[in-house]
Structures are given as structure tokens and as C-alpha cells.
Assembly symmetry: C3
Homo-oligomer: 459 residues x 3
């Protein structure tokens, strides 16, 4: 059973202050401005999640990679035919998640979403499986029902630049009131070095109805798609890049690289220049159309080629690398950092940049906000480090509140709960130490829970 | 109202130990061995601070950049004609500083220096303004009176190599007892890549009465100026460099670079070599004349060119970069690291170097001490990280106590108070955990408050 | 006197939980899978430690460098003729170790091994010296007696590839039951840039009885030595490298570099390539013979050439550098990261890699485990940072338990005690916050104390 005072520091004064602050924010709606939930889940009221394994294991690379790291073959985890066997394997190894965010999220989901109060283990595996399976079958277990029960005010998905947004369209025309908006993600059409780039450009041509033969066509197509996303409710774009290097190319150079890419002759250097240039272009477009720009840099994707080849990407082998922002973002900020219509939200997997680079940038440039602790750092201790390393320099008002950034829809309340508890605990710590007073602490708690995200993402 | 137990950890045992340790050090005099206070403040007893905005906002780039980061234009902050309007803007936005060191320092200053006990806000803005304005008018609000009231034992300023130190001279001859000493800062005359370098050399020629036509003249002039600073009470020099790279050039190479610089033809590579070489030269001179050498590396200065052009430097856009010490300092330490007359105090904006590079260097080389948490890290949590990451490896005796490093004179007691409370809290944490006993904790507290700074700076 | 609740967090709930968890593990045997104790200590029952200075000061570079950093000349510390004078100097400066791991280990050793309950100081110096000297003379103070009293289940030493392991042999044939096993460390024969490399190759030829004239001979000799080490009980190898770069050379290139090295003509680039290649080769051999592979990278060895020249290596001047794992290990993990017979334990001196690179790698690759906090980070706060930065991503089961990594034999119980207390304290913190339950906490405590080390090192 989850205790009501869970996670909070044990000191009685701090804990009681934390519980009071938490009580004031726990029932606020969920604002989810960045994530990877499939919009198709909500396109029709008939949609269901499938088996407990379809819901909780297969789409969750945090869970998969932990099991794989202990020698459990991906075959046994991804084999579609025997969900219950996979569940048993997972349950028998649930101790691997002790002390990890996945462990906490899962316990929270099981209890609050599915009413499971036993600890998951080899013994309880079947019972728990049945309980979840039952819950998922009924209408109360449908994606739309959970969306409403979770009190989600707005949920942003992440969608390729060429995505026709049919699911979003279906959802809108269905008359359902849930607010689900797309986010424009141009990665596929920017990564000229990727094997699928030319196919992505063909899709972009098709989606934009612009026959993309030149760099100028390409830019026009992107501008047009951004307009379309905006018309579908998008307020933001997202750039997933290896490096946050930014640099402006001349139109001629950009065109030359673009043509080499079309012929499959772009070099690695071309690719790096083009990505750096396209971050500048995305910033320029954002300064024009007002879409908030996000940058998620610093992951070495699919580090394990054997796993990539056999099981595809997103199997837990995206490994962070050292990331540099001060030099890399200089060209972009030189041009757009003071622009009144431009807003840039930065993320990092390299915590050494929190205090050294990101908080000073966010604490000075009007265009820059710092996104919440991301991915490996989206955890109780990751949040503590973020608060301690970022807030003294940037203040909370230069941060962007919380993102759950998940494709595991049922874990969304659990993730926001950890953030709200962590915020309340941090603010309580400052309150009992006399850094802030109660009035400030209460306002800050509400800002961190929903206000900052609403403002940063223009909701 | 400030509570007497503020900042300390809430655990009752640790808090009471911290309060006892703090009680033993809170009234010790202030030793301020590095900072940027204007010596002219003390040159005559008639000198006053000006308006509350002149004192608390305009010279404080921590405050300015936070307001600017939230979209408040610099025009409104720096416009000299309407101080009260600027103050109101500041007061209405004071929540931006919640949980930041500036917020804490300002609250402390307002209450202890100016007797303001209300919280600053839009509502209280005018009342507080009047109260400060009144306090600043009388003799009790004069710089000299505050210096005495603050119980400052010694205050070191930072002065260009060519500075005639007239204010220091006036202060000395005035018969006032306050001890204010200069620090020799050669940056302007070393940065051959800066537009103002040739002008700086002309000033150095004038100050030293040496017509500087060659590298040898230049070195002689620097040696002579150091001698002069020493005669004026200086015990230290300070080098603010982008990188702490050190490397010795041959005299011929140094001369050749120097001549290229005089002709405005020095390359970026020349500049980097020359800076690295001049760190070696400064160390050599320090080993000879005994002036303690400080290095403050790692800031990308004036990262925002639009702000630089319109509002000048020191507007909050100096952004830290990753810094490397182990390789960079090797040439210097190879030559001077064991020298009995050489003392080097290192600072960093890159906390990842605390435990990895700086504590191991300070914990081994007799010449090396580690300076206190600097700038963005001069904060409650910054101090905690410093204690936790540095002290186990270096021990406290290889550190240099505290620097306030400020140009905001009235904030000096507030800054030292945070350090003393943080030290007491940290030592109390070790005491209640049995890492040290009370006798050690009391000695260490006094060392950290004043003893280490006196020793490290040869006061 | 050591208090029984020492080090634990002061909050009463957390402390009592920590003490209960600690009570369950404090008497478990010591598993010491990596360290530098001299096996000769145990080869014969007559062996004694020598003077207190021989035992506690001279072999301990942590102690030596701290004294040297405060201006105490190495002459006075290493002079063999007057042990008592050296001891007095140490005692008079024992305050330098306040709050450091050395201070804690020494206090623990003095009290639990030698019955010294006074605080070491100038005053108590002689008395303490006499007490230790007495204890060391008798049979109860012999290495073997202490091994048994320390309840050491297994102790691994570190031995050069060409070491004939005579001491290990003597120990085995003596009939003594203490389990002491070697570890294969090929550094000397891999570092083609080191002055002693050719001599090391001669020794390798002699030990392997293979006349090493070619790269192929060299590889055969290494394989043969690994076999021999294995036959002597070794379960692991250890690679101490500057960089963890890995890259496979063609046999021809490896041969060419090897021949250049034999002629003393290898370049720095050759050396780097060869080291990177040999890490791949060691991994290949480990995948074949099953010896666990350890990598200890990132120390700039003998940073102080004056000290190196006069007093030799290991005098406290090995200074860490920034280290990169994600790119550097990619070639090795691409090939062996999924291999069922390969096991790699990674260490770092660069804590910024804990959460960014190492925990994600260990939390995904089945072959990778993360070693405990190493060297400068083997401390109370170092352990806290390790737990907080590693465990949420990797889980405890992808870590390798504890290593004491010491040559100071008498400090082994003290070091394991700090780890066990730190583990208990960390688990208690999670327990009282509701992250884990008591059953899990107890299991995890036992795993961290001994279970994980036994598994990771194939004991």
C-alpha cells in the first residue's frame, strides 16, 4: 500500500510542511506539454490497451533494458504470443527495479489505476495479471476514460513533420472533449545522414504537396507544415539532436549540402553543419510563427548495434554523452536570444551543465527556459539535483515546470506525482530553513505543478 | 523578520549543534581578501552611496540579469533619471529572487543594514525605498561608517596593473583606520586580443614610467608595478583568464608575439599562447616577490553581443564553460608547485572539477590552495556541494576560507553570514554523525570563518 | 571512542532503521575482490608488519600527500632511520585529516585493531606509538592473525602479468586456510611508451617461457599467463589505463607497432592505439577464459615530476582527468557487450560520468557492471553521491558491491565498515521514505555488503 507521506524527508517539521504544500497541489489538473503517447489511443472511444504486457512492458524501454541488462533475452520479452509468460518473468525480476523510478511508477500505477495493493513478485504474478487484465477490458479502462480520470488538462504528443495528424483530426471531429495537441518534430527530415532521410523527404513532399527538389522547397515545406501543426493546436516544436551546435550556413552552402544529401553523397561533416544550420532555421521560424522551440540533445542513439539490428531502436541503448551549450548555442542566442517572440526550452542528459551552463543561460536570456530533469534524471534524486543546481541561479520562473515525456500513458499520473511531491519536499526544505515564507512556498508549488508549464508552452 | 536559526538543517540535534558553532564565530571580524568594491567609497568621509537603486540594483549584475531574463528591458533598469520607478519595478518582481542567493542577501541587507522588516513587494516598495534613502543620507549610512559597523578587518579591492592607486593613497593619508588593500590584476595588459590592449599598454607605460617598446620592457614594467602594489599593501595578484592553460614560451617567441600585438596583428593562437605564458611569468614573479597568485578561469564573457553593445559588459551575460585543470596547470606546477615561496589559489565555475581535479591538486601540491565557491556557486547549496566534494580529499587546511567577491559593498555581511552558517551547519552535520568531535568542530569553524583566509592571503 | 551510531543521518527514524539494517550485515565476512595488499604478508606465519610507521604511514599515499601538501618534506616522512620522529610529526598534524576518510579509517583502525581510544595528537603521540608497537610484535598482531580476526572470506591481490606468484604459491603450500587470490594486471607489458616496457617484456618472456619476438608471441604469452593466474585462483584481470578508448587494430598493424616498440621507436600515437587495441584483446581473452575484466581509467600518474624523481611513484600525485566512456567503449561493447561469457567492471574517477554514461551502460549491457566509488570517491560523501547518481538508473544489481582497493591491510575492516554503514544509511533513507520496504532493504543490504561482490567477481 502506498503511504500518503511517501518520498518526503523524514524530519517531522519538513515532512509536515511538505504534506501541506503537497495537499494544495495534488489535485491540480495534469498539464503534459511534452511526451510520446500515441494519439491513436484517443481517436475512438472503442480503443483499448491490450494485455498488461502490451500496456506496461513492451512499450517501456526503461523496463525492457533493465531486464535485458540482467541477461534476460529480448526474445522472451518481446515475443507477442505469450503475454502471461512474459509477465511472470517480469514479476519474478521485479526486485531489479527496487529503488528505481520504474519501480515507483509501476507500484503507483498498479495501485491507483488498477487497484493492485499486493507487491508484485513471482507469487503474486498471476493474480496481478488477472486484475489488470480485467481492469483494461471495461470502458473504465479505456484510454479516454483514463485520460479523464487522470484529470489531464492538455496532452501534447510528438509527431513527425510529415505526419498528416489523422489521429488528431479524428479525435477532434469525434466531439470528445479531451485536449490532445501535436508537436512538430522535424528530426527525420533534418538528419541527412540517416538511411531513411530520402524517404522522409518524399513523405514531406507528399504531406506538404510541395515537390521538394531544392533547399528552398524544403524550407517552404517545413514552414507550411509548421503552419498546419499550428492550425491543429500545436504550440511547440521539438528538435532531438546529437549536439546542440548551431551555425548559420549561406543559402548556397545549404543548397549544396541538400543536393549532396539527395544524391546520397552527404558527408558526416555535411550532416553536422546541416543540423546546426537547421536549428538556426527552426529558431528563425519560431521567432516568426511563435511556436515554442525545444531542444533535446546529447543521446548516442542505439549504442548496441546487435540489439538495434534484431529488435530495432528504443530498446534501452540510447546512452548519454557529454554536452556543451555555452559555445554551441552562441550563434543561435546571438541572433534570437533577445527576440520578444522567440522561446527556447533546453533539456540535457548531462547534469554537469545544469549549474555551469544552463541555469546561467536561462537566468539571463529572455528567450531561454530550462526544461525539467529529463529521462535518466526524471527521478526523485534527479529532481533534487535539478532543484539544488538550477534554482539558485535561474530562479523557478526561468524553468518550464514538468514534462512526463513518456509513451507509457498509464504512468503519467505517477510521474507527475513524483514531481509534485519532490517540489513540495524541496519547497518545504526551504520553508523550514527560512529561505522562503509560506506564502511564497504555496505560490511556487502551484507554479511548479502547472503554472510554469502552461506559460512556457503558451497553453 | 530574519529568524536566528535560519538556513540550518531542521533536525533538532544538528540544528542545535550548528547554532552553537555559529554562535562562536558570528561576531568574528570580516576578512575580505578578494572583491570588487570601489576604493573611492572610502577615500573621503563625505562620500555617500546615492539612491537605493544606485546602491542595490544598478551595480549588481546578479539582480539586473534576473530581471532582464524575465523580459524587463535594460532601459528601464539602468535609466538614471527615475530611481524610484526602477525600484518599484524591482519590488514588483522580487518574487523572481525567491530561493536565490540574491533574495537572501537582499533580505539580510534590508533588515540588518537598513532596519527594513517588511517583505519587499509592490505594496511595500515606496515605504522601503524611503527607509533606505533616509538611512543612506546620514553619516551612519556612509561607506566608512558601514565598514566599521560591519567589523571589517581587511578589505582587498581589485585594481588594474596600471592603476595609480590614488584612492588607496587618499584613504591612507586621510588617517582613517579602515584597512583597504589593492590587488594587482594584469588582465587588461595581458589580453593582447582585446581591442583596448594597446591603450592598456600605454597606461602601463605611463604608470611605470617605462617606455614599453619590447617584451623585456613589458616584463620590467609589470615587475615594477607589482612592487608598487606591494608597497601599497597588496598581498595578492589575480588573473582572470578564459582558460587556465599554462606554457612557457622562449623569450624570442614572447617578443615576437608581443611585437605582432603592438602592430595589431596578433592571432587568436598568439593570444592563447601569450596568456598561457604570462600565467607562468606571473607565477615566476610571485615566487620571487611573494604575492599570492589567484586564477579565476572559465567564463565566456559578454555572451550576449546585443546587450554588450548597448549596455556594456557585466550585465549578467558571463556564462561559464567546462574547464580543465590537471593538464592545463601541469607546466606551471611542474615548475612552481613545490616552491616554498609560491602560493596559488584556484577558483572554478565548473563544479565537476572540484572533486576530480582541484581537491586532488590542492591536497597534494604545497603551493596550491582551493578558493571558495565562486559566483554562481556562492550560495547555500553551492557551499554544501563544495564542502561535500572538496573537503574529504583536500581537508579544510588546503582551502582558502571565504571570499565575498562582490562590488555590492552593503551585501558583504550577508554573504559572510551565509558562509558562516553553511560552515557551521556542515561541521554540525559531521559532529552529530561522529566524524569529528566538538573540539575539532570549533577550531575548524573559526578557521573557515577567518583563519584560513588570513593565512592563504598572507594577512 | 567510536560511537555505535556513527556516520548515520541524525533523524531518529532514519537512524534507527539504519542501525537495524547495519546490525544485519556488520558481521558478514569481508569479500575483498580488488586491492593491492602484498601477498608476501601471508606467505609465512612469522611475517610481521614492522613499526607503526611502516604499517600506517609509509605505504599510505593518502596520508603522505596530505602531510606533504602542508609543506612537510618527504625526507622527514620517508626517512627510514627514525620511525618515532615521523610518527610524532604525523600525530602533531593529525588535524589535517579531520573530516577525511583517512582520518576516519585511522581512528577506526587504532581503536578496533590496536585498542587505542585516545585521540591522536602531539600529546598522545608516544603513548599511541608504544601501544601499536606492542600490538604488532605478538602473534596476535601478525598479518595472518589479523586476516582471520578481520573475518576475510577472500582477498584478491594485484599482480603483474609476469609475476611468478611465488608468494601465492608459498601461501597455498603452507597449509594456511586464508583465501588469497591473484589478479592479472597486464599494464606493464601493455604500456609500450613506458621506459620499463622492454624490461617488462623480457620478464614476460621468462615467466611464460615464450621467447617474445613478435606480436603473435606476445599474445600467446599473455594467454598463457592468464591461464596460469587462473590456475592459481584468479577470477579477474585489471587494466589501469589513462583512457578507456577501445579500437581493434589489424594483426599487421599491431605487429608493426609492436616491432617499433621493441626498437624503442613507438610514437605516442602508437602507444594510444596499442592500448586501445589491447583492451579489445583482453576482452576477447576474457570472453574465452571467463576472467572478469576490470578497467580503472582516468588518472594522470605522477603529475609532480620533482616528487617522482626524488621519491618515486605513488606519492599522492596521481591526479584525475575528465573521462569519456560512451564513445570510447563503443567498439568493445559492440563486439562483447552482449557476450554471455564476458563480464566487465568499470571504475571512474570522474563522477560526472556516473549518471550520464556509466549507469546507463551498466543498466543496459548484460556484460557491464559498475564498480564501487573509487579512490578519492571511496568516502562517506562519495558513496552517497554514487548511490544517488547510479542506483536509480542501474539498480543495485548492475553494480559490483564494494572494493577496498587498498595496500593498507589494517585499514580493510574500517573501509568495509564505512561502506556497510553508508549502504545501511542509504537504504534506511529509502525505507523511511517509502521507496522500498523492509524486506527489500534487508536483502539489498546483504547484497551490497557481500553478495554483489561475490557474483560480480565469480567467487
Amino acid at each position: 500500500m502506498l503511504s500518503t507521506d511517501r518520498y518526503f524527508d523524514p524530519d517531522p517539521k519538513q515532512k509536515s510542511a511538505a504534506m501541506e504544500l503537497y495537499a494544495g497541489i495534488k489535485d491540480l489538473p495534469i498539464v503534459s506539454p511534452h511526451g510520446h503517447v500515441d494519439p491513436a489511443l484517443f481517436a475512438s472511444p472503442e480503443r483499448r490497451f491490450g494485455s498488461p504486457v502490451d500496456l506496461l512492458i513492451r512499450p517501456d524501454h526503461y523496463v525492457l533494458r533493465m531486464l535485458y541488462s540482467q541477461g534476460i533475452p529480448y526474445e522472451q520479452l518481446l515475443a507477442p504470443e505469450d503475454a502471461r509468460e512474459t509477465w511472470r518473468l517480469f514479476a519474478a525480476n521485479f526486485h531489479l527495479f527496487n529503488g528505481t523510478p520504474s519501480g515507483i511508477w509501476l507500484a503507483h500505477e498498479l495501485e491507483t489505476v488498477f487497484g493492485v495493493t499486493q507487491k508484485l513478485s513471482q507469487t503474486s504474478a498471476d493474480l496481478v495479471y488477472d486484475q489488470i487484465e480485467d481492469a483494461l477490458k471495461g470502458e473504465a479502462g479505456s484510454p479516454r476514460a483514463l485520460f479523464e480520470r487522470f484529470n489531464i488538462e492538455i496532452l501534447a504528443t510528438t509527431d513527425a513533420a510529415y505526419d498528416p495528424l489523422e489521429q488528431h483530426q479524428a479525435l477532434r471531429t469525434s466531439g470528445w472533449k479531451g485536449r490532445v495537441v501535436p508537436t512538430f518534430r522535424p528530426d527525420d527530415v533534418v538528419k541527412i545522414e540517416a538511411p531513411g532521410w530520402r524517404e522522409a523527404i518524399r513523405k514531406l513532399s507528399a504531406a506538404s504537396k510541395i515537390d521538394i527538389g531544392s533547399y528552398a522547397d524544403y524550407i517552404r515545406a517545413l514552414e507550411q507544415r509548421r503552419e498546419f501543426f499550428k492550425s491543429m493546436g500545436a504550440t511547440a516544436i521539438d528538435c532531438g539532436v546529437f549536439s546542440p551546435a548551431t551555425a548559420e550556413l549561406s543559402t548556397q552552402t545549404a543548397e549544396a549540402i541538400f543536393q549532396r544529401a539527395r544524391q546520397g553523397k552527404a558527408t558526416a561533416e555535411d550532416a553536422a553543419s546541416f543540423t546546426a544550420h537547421m536549428l538556426m532555421e527552426m529558431a528563425r521560424m519560431s521567432a516568426e510563427d511563435g511556436l515554442v522551440m525545444q531542444i533535446h540533445p546529447g543521446a548516442y542513439r542505439s549504442h548496441n548495434p546487435q540489439v538495434l539490428e534484431r529488435y530495432g531502436p528504443e530498446r534501452g541503448f540510447d546512452i548519454p554523452v557529454r554536452t556543451e551549450f555555452t559555445h554551441n548555442l552562441h550563434p543561435l542566442l546571438e541572433r534570437f536570444g533577445n527576440h520578444p517572440n522567440f522561446s527556447l526550452i533546453l533539456f540535457t542528459l548531462d547534469e554537469s551543465t545544469y549549474g555551469r551552463e544552463l541555469a546561467p543561460l536561462a537566468g539571463a536570456y529572455p528567450a531561454v527556459k530550462l526544461g525539467p530533469p529529463w529521462w535518466f534524471n526524471d527521478s526523485w534524486n534527479g529532481m533534487k539535483r535539478y532543484f539544488d543546481q538550477v534554482m539558485e541561479t535561474a530562479g523557478i520562473y526561468n524553468t518550464a515546470g514538468f514534462n512526463d515525456d513518456t509513451r507509457a500513458f498509464a504512468s503519467i499520473p505517477a510521474r507527475h506525482d513524483v514531481w509534485r511531491r519532490a517540489s513540495a519536499n524541496w519547497l518545504a526544505g526551504m520553508l523550514v530553513r527560512g529561505f522562503i515564507d509560506r506564502e511564497d512556498a504555496e505560490k511556487m508549488a502551484a507554479e511548479m505543478a502547472v503554472g510554469l508549464a502552461r506559460k512556457a508552452y503558451h497553453f
